[in-house]
């Protein structure tokens, strides 16, 4: 019996057709490629900062340590840590031991100390002179720079650098002058001791005076304690003049220069503070890292940016307080950038998946500066492109994807 073509055979048998149609429909529905849900973000122009972070601590810009000039007993330490003192205030009273007073060797020592103090003073004076010279030089450079800047021939960065140098020079001059004052008072103090020692009629009390105005930072001994000559008694300094030091990896230190801005956070306050690199010390040293290997580091000193915020905030900081320093090596107010969560390596090049018409497309990218979680795009992406974040192994070039809100 001639059954004819399959369509003829099936024509009167809709149930078979139903079966076939169901087969087809099930296959279609279940194997139709479904869009993979992915997280995405847009490529846009925004500020970008390249930085690295290091733990640092505060310290007094200039610190003076008051030592015992002679063997004796500290009768009373008048000042407490935190007290403000003026230059010349009595901060402690020493009762020299009799032997110290009459001892010829002790006297010779005191003479030597006076001489040393005088040479310190001379050196301090010389420092003032050079600081003054430096200061006038950098002021002049700043003036030139401002003039050039007004003509647009100098970048803002460089101008800032000149400004910073000028300010640094001014500060250096001030501190040099302060050192001179201190050296004077130290020498006077030793002279006083010398005079005392010469005098057999022993005054039983030797007042010790603060060499400079400032605040008592630390006290090393209690009252009624025997001390030896030279033993540290008090630390004092100008608490308003704080700076931050950090031990920075040498490989990172070379990216810094005087004037590089820094953000100071995690100090316990509500807002971060701002500063600038004052000095990168040229001498490196070896330090064991947190995880146990040797690293080469160098000290970087950061000073607070006076203009940037209220002193009231900074007043809460003491000496030796922990600060996390972010060194802002490079900044730009607007640069095309992509989240680094979208980036991966395609052989040796950087790449990302761009969502085009519902599909993920692999695009090679040229990157520039790498910031915090984002990277500068120099080529390969346009503003407005949407990239896939944290692409899974299942994302391939051409795969259907659908962007979902994270």
């Amino acid at each position: 019996m001639n059954e004819g073509s399959i369509w003829l055979r099936l024509r009167g048998k809709p149930l078979y057709l139903l079966l076939a149609a169901t087969l087809f429909a099930v296959a279609l529905w279940s194997f139709w490629p479904r869009a993979l849900p992915v997280e995405s973000a847009a490529v846009a122009a925004a500020p970008l900062t390249e930085s690295f972070s290091e733990e640092g601590r505060t310290r007094l810009r200039s610190r003076y340590q008051l030592g015992a000039p002679l063997d004796g007993t500290v009768e009373r330490i008048v000042a407490e840590p935190g007290d403000a003192v003026a230059a010349g205030d009595v901060v402690a009273v020493l009762r020299p031991s009799p032997s110290a007073m009459l001892d010829p060797a002790g006297r010779a020592q005191s003479e030597a100390r006076v001489r040393a103090a005088e040479s310190d003073l001379a050196a301090a004076r010389a420092t003032v002179a050079s600081a003054r010279a430096e200061q006038s030089r950098s002021a002049a450079a700043l003036q030139r720079g401002i003039a050039l800047g007004a003509k647009g021939l100098l970048s803002g960065e460089n101008l800032d650098s000149l400004r910073a140098q000028d300010a640094a020079a001014a500060a250096a001059l001030r501190s040099a002058q302060a050192r001179v004052d201190a050296a004077v008072s130290v020498r006077d103090g030793y002279r006083a001791v010398l005079e005392l020692q010469g005098d057999a009629a022993t005054p039983t009390r030797l007042p010790l005076r603060a060499p400079v105005a400032g605040r008592i930072i630390r006290r090393f001994v209690e009252s009624e304690v025997a001390v030896r000559a030279g033993q540290a008694l008090l630390d004092l300094g100008d608490i308003g003049a704080l700076e931050v030091v950090a031990d920075v990896l040498t490989a990172d230190a070379v990216r810094l220069q005087t004037g590089t801005p820094a953000r100071l956070r995690d100090w316990g306050g509500e807002t971060p503070l701002h500063g600038r690199v004052r000095r990168v010390e040229p001498g490196g040293f070896t330090k064991v890292s947190a995880l146990g290997v040797d690293e080469q580091r160098t000290v970087v000193v950061v000073e607070f940016d006076e203009a940037a915020e209220t002193p009231a905030l900074r007043a809460r900081l003491g000496d030796g307080f922990r600060v996390q320093v972010d060194f802002l090596v490079w900044q730009s107010p607007s640069v095309l950038q992509v989240p680094s969560a979208a980036l991966f390596r395609d052989d040796a090049a950087w790449a990302a998946y761009v969502i085009e018409n519902g599909r993920a497309r692999l695009r090679r990218i040229e990157l520039g500066r790498i910031g915090d979680g984002r990277a500068e795009v120099r080529g390969g992406l346009r503003e407005g492109d949407r990239v896939v974040l944290f692409p899974a192994d299942t994302v391939r070039d051409g795969r259907r994807v659908t962007a979902q809100s994270p």
Partner: protein
């Protein structure tokens, strides 16, 4: 042989293909039963024996450090038979030819002589002598994965100090039947090893001279475990004890228990389904047989055969089929069981895992198969027996045909053929429904089989692609200051660093409590996120704690309730926090707090236990080398590689299971379709042949039969999908535990494969029946009486 028996045998022979279908389906059910139960029994028996022979401890307690004398206090606790102190330390290892980071757990091997717990079972080589400073025994899974042998070298880094060792032996202890690192979710034998060193060598490496930081205890018979646990905690409280646990909480034991639970669930569910279907198919086959032999039954009764003899005769048929199913199923089950045991041997390092078939299982299998056969045969057989002989020999009256759905008369212009089909369906609604149900079951079984694949895909995607997105995890030997994070950030290729802190806690709510870990996460963490049930990130809340959903359910707590968290380290502070939200994660149970909150709550300043890194793939080798040389780094883990490794190791297992389940499902579908069609054919042979005689083609006649089946098959798909969902839900319920939650997720391709296989099988089987339709004996029909 009696003539009646001969009749039975010849009937069976005539029915052989349908009987084979029934037997096959039953065999599949029995095979499943045998496979899972036998494997379960073998595993349990092997494990018990192993525990007994190698003295697996009953209680384990970890602490920070205590001098050896404290052990005497422990031994004095009532109920303690043996207290074995030991040193346990995590570390890293390196072997030649393998670049990925390897985590290890180092334990002090028991000294020779004396009563010791958790004894080493050596597969090859020997134990290290107490005096040897550079000898160790390594776990066998690791050794197998890398092809290591006694004499090979291995570098071990403990507490930052690196030392070269020689492998003198390969083996394991009952504590490490499942060899996986404490943080891992699944075994990664290439990247995790357990090493046993002589006590003195480990003391030196970890600065624990004369001290111990872990103790294993065996209880006296009849001792109450809770009292001993409490007493041990009390004794070790001053030494940084983190809480003693019983055997059932020990990691390897737990892991294996989970496996048993899953096997048990499988052993209960699958065979029930298969045997149910086989009973149903037998019901169809026997029902039609009895229907077709009405006259013969009447004749037999006329000649004096009693009811008893009649039903025994037909029941004998059922028994024969059931027995065949049992025998086939036993054979198949043994094969599959050996296969399964082989797969398990790779994961569970039991010294002896022989597949053992206990008589109990054999009896169970036979009982199940025969029982289901008798169940299916019950109705037809009883019907045959009760048939009054006079009625039996009368032609079967047409069943009452009441006018139904009077209104639907001209609803659709259907051809005569469709009216016949519809009428036939409506005339035997029960039969049609049961065929429909049987087909649906075939679909649902195939779905159940593929479910494992789907669930694992979903788990991996959820946890390792949406929740965790880091490239490397770095664990520190000691809790480190935040400086360590800066150090990591400066390493080559590191793009982002996210810190983490973890502290063991006891979580309490009302009467329930659970020992788990409290994790501190940075609030804007991207590399590891906590997700809610909808997959949206729920960041650790400022004023409250997040708990894994399963944990909250265990405790009976709801958002807003105050949870007590007792930290078990350091100052042991107790925190009271409201439950701020639930985290939906598949592995383990955890509690989460923002990092800063945790720091403050613990009062020890910021301390970090681990960091997650996002890194440039091109710099990875250098980065790993840098991490490797840092003594402060305890271990590193690579997320992508771990996941890939998991897939590789599971792929074979998954593929095997999927194939088996799909085959089983296809057997059910084929069985139902074939026996249904054949039975219908034999029942309606005369009608169909008459139609042929009247001039209908065999195609048209076949359509009456097969078109009905096609309709039922198509209609069975939605029911099958729904049933599949239900069966998956049952499976998921059985699997839920603290260690892992399997999601109730069925992928589109599973529906597709199940549906397509069912449809295709139906078509192919229908084709077989089709050939019989073509060979209908028209002449015989003409000869038959009206």
């Amino acid at each position: 042989m009696r003539a009646l028996t001969r009749k039975g045998l010849r009937d069976l022979w005539r029915l052989r293909s349908q009987a084979a279908a029934v037997a096959l389906v039953a065999a599949v059910g029995v095979a499943n039963l045998v496979m899972s139960r036998a494997t379960l029994e073998s595993l349990e028996a092997s494990r018990s024996r192993y525990y007994r022979e190698y003295a697996f401890a009953d209680v384990f307690a970890d602490l920070k450090r205590a001098p050896e004398q404290v052990a005497q206090e422990l031994r004095r606790i009532a109920g303690v038979a043996v207290a074995d102190t030991r040193i346990v330390a995590p570390g890293r290892a390196r072997i030649a030819g393998f670049d990925d980071p390897i985590r290890i757990q180092a334990l002090s091997a028991p000294e020779p002589g004396g009563l010791h717990l958790n004894r080493l079972h050596l597969r090859s080589g020997r134990a290290a002598e107490p005096g040897e400073r550079d000898a160790l025994v390594v776990s066998d899974a690791f050794a197998d994965a890398h092809g290591l042998r006694a004499g090979d070298a291995m570098t071990v880094v403990l507490h930052g100090r690196s030392q070269s060792f020689r492998i003198v032996g390969i083996g394991a202890t009952p504590e490490f039947v499942a060899q996986l690192s404490p943080q891992a979710v699944f075994p990664d034998p290439r990247r995790f090893a357990v090493v046993w060193l002589p006590r003195r060598a480990l003391e030196a490496a970890t600065d624990m001279d004369g001290a111990f930081n872990s103790v294993a205890i065996a209880l006296q018979p009849g001792a109450r475990r809770e009292t001993v646990l409490a007493a041990v905690d009390l004794a070790l409280a001053g030494y940084g004890g983190v809480g003693a646990i019983g055997r059932e909480d020990q990691r390897s034991h737990r892991y294996l228990d989970e496996e048993f639970r899953q096997l048990r669930t499988m052993a209960r569910l699958f065979p029930a389904v298969f045997l149910g279907v086989s009973a149903f198919v037998l019901y169809i086959v026997l029902g039609r047989l009895v229907g077709g032999q009405r006259e013969q039954i009447g004749t037999l009764k006329a000649f004096g055969y009693g009811d008893g003899e009649i039903w025994r005769h037909y029941a004998g048929l059922a028994l024969a089929i059931g027995s065949a199913g049992a025998v086939l199923g036993l054979a198949l089950g043994m094969q599959l069981g050996s296969l399964l045991a082989g797969l398990y041997r790779e994961f569970y390092r039991l010294p002896y895992l022989d597949f053992v078939l206990s008589p109990g299982v054999v009896w169970l299998a036979v009982l199940a198969s025969v029982g289901s056969a008798l169940l299916g045969a019950a109705v037809p057989v009883l019907r045959a027996a009760r048939l009054p002989p006079a009625e039996a020999m009368r032609p079967e009256a047409p069943t009452s045909w009441r006018r139904r759905t009077t209104g639907a008369r001209s609803l659709v212009r259907v051809s005569q053929a469709h009216r016949l089909i519809l009428r036939n369906l409506l005339r035997h609604p029960l039969r049609a429904t049961m065929t429909w149900a049987g087909l649906a079951l075939g679909v649902s079984v195939m779905m159940m089989g593929r479910f494992q694949d789907d669930a694992i895909d979903y788990l991996i995607e959820r946890q390792y692609e949406r929740a965790e997105r880091y490239d490397l995890s770095v664990a520190f030997v000691e809790p480190a200051a935040p400086r360590a994070l800066d150090e990591l950030a400066a390493l080559p290729g590191v793009r982002a660093v996210e810190p983490q802190r973890a502290v063991p806690v006891r979580v309490r709510y009302r009467a329930a409590d659970k020992r788990t870990v409290l994790i501190g996460l940075a609030p804007d963490a991207q590399l590891r996120r906590t997700l809610d049930a909808a997959g949206k990130p729920v960041p650790p809340a400022l004023h409250g704690v997040l708990l894994t959903g399963f944990l909250a359910r265990l405790l009976g707590a709801r958002p807003g309730d105050t949870i007590e968290l007792e930290t078990l380290e350091g100052r042991r502070r107790v925190l009271y926090l409201p439950l701020a939200g639930l985290v939906d994660e598949p592995f383990g149970v955890q509690a989460y707090l923002p990092l800063a909150t945790l720091d403050r709550a613990l009062g020890e300043g910021p301390r970090r236990d681990a960091a997650l890194l996002s890194a440039d793939a091109a710099a990875m080798p250098r980065l790993i080398a840098e991490l490797d040389r840092r003594p402060g780094v305890a271990a590193t883990g690579r997320r992508r590689e771990s996941v890939r490794n998991f897939y590789d190791s599971m792929a074979r297992t998954i593929l095997t299971f999927t194939l088996i389940a799909t085959a089983f499902g296809a057997v059910i579908t084929a069985g139902v379709v074939y026996s249904s069609a054949r039975a219908a054919l034999s029942e309606r042979a005369r009608d169909l042949a008459s139609l042929r005689v009247l001039g209908f083609t065999s195609a048209e006649v076949g359509y009456l039969l097969l078109g009905e089946l096609a309709l039922l098959t198509v209609l069975a798909l939605p029911l099958g999908f729904a049933l599949g969902h239900g069966l998956v839900a049952l499976l998921v319920l059985g699997y839920d535990s603290e260690l892992m939650r399997i999601p109730h997720y069925v992928s589109a391709s599973t529906y597709g494969i199940a549906g397509l296989t069912a449809l295709t099988t139906a078509v192919l089987t229908g084709g077989l029946v089709w050939r019989r339709v073509q060979r209908l004996d028209l002449i015989g029909v003409l000869k038959a009486r009206d």
